[in-house]
Symmetry: C2
Subunit: 116 residues, 2 copies
Amino acid sequence: MDPQHVIRALGALAQEHRLAAFRLLVQAGPQGLAAGALAEALGVAPSSLSFHLAQLSHAGLVSQRREGRSILYSADYPAMTGLLAYLTENCCAGQDQCGPAAACAPASTSEERNVA
Amino acid sequence: MDPQHVIRALGALAQEHRLAAFRLLVQAGPQGLAAGALAEALGVAPSSLSFHLAQLSHAGLVSQRREGRSILYSADYPAMTGLLAYLTENCCAGQDQCGPAAACAPASTSEERNVA
DNA sequence: TCAACGATTCGATAAATGTTGAAATATGGA
DNA sequence: TCCATATTTCAACATTTATCGAATCGTTGA
């Protein structure tokens, strides 16, 4: 994982609404949530949230798919795991006593996902 | 760990020079590195680095102590561990299959440190 | 085809962030 | 005391980021 990518991911999470949105998506699982549902849950204008979701998407932390009129966003668990791994990579000066960051997999329907 | 604190920490790490500085400090261990040594290693103007170190310090990610003319900065491992814990807290919708983030302790002179 | 709905894109604007050089503060040694 | 070293603070500036409302783009169903 290259540093620029890590910085984008950290920057994407370092904002009140985006961190909250990401947490909701992580909890929502692979099915995800519609942009509108997120906007309402967070109390943010749709156009504002769209901007934030684009940031998260650009950082590779969320993915989107259309379903009817809605666009469903879902957390990208492998990306999250990769970010944690990078942060702990230097931990203990390379000696992996800390162990790698725990893999982050969705609780349900985990059978359809490969966390490489 | 409250969300505002988490955001400060993430924001502190979401910058090229600060992320690099923090990594160097994590690798340097509890003894830390002088501000000047960091500035030279990163190729950043001293006043610029001072600004960045203040951000990291305000986020609670590093601590400082004076030694002679130098000010030595060192990574705050418990803070790092707390940050990772927060990020994984929501993982798997609360079911801790992911396990908590691995504790991050310095490799050497670990006898003088309490990672609660 | 048309109207309603869900979401994004586009401008404009306000706020926060990063950089630099000069000046100020603190320490150590002659 | 005086000077050199190490670092921070300050002010100015350019850049990036966040917000909102209006306009636009897809999709659905009558």
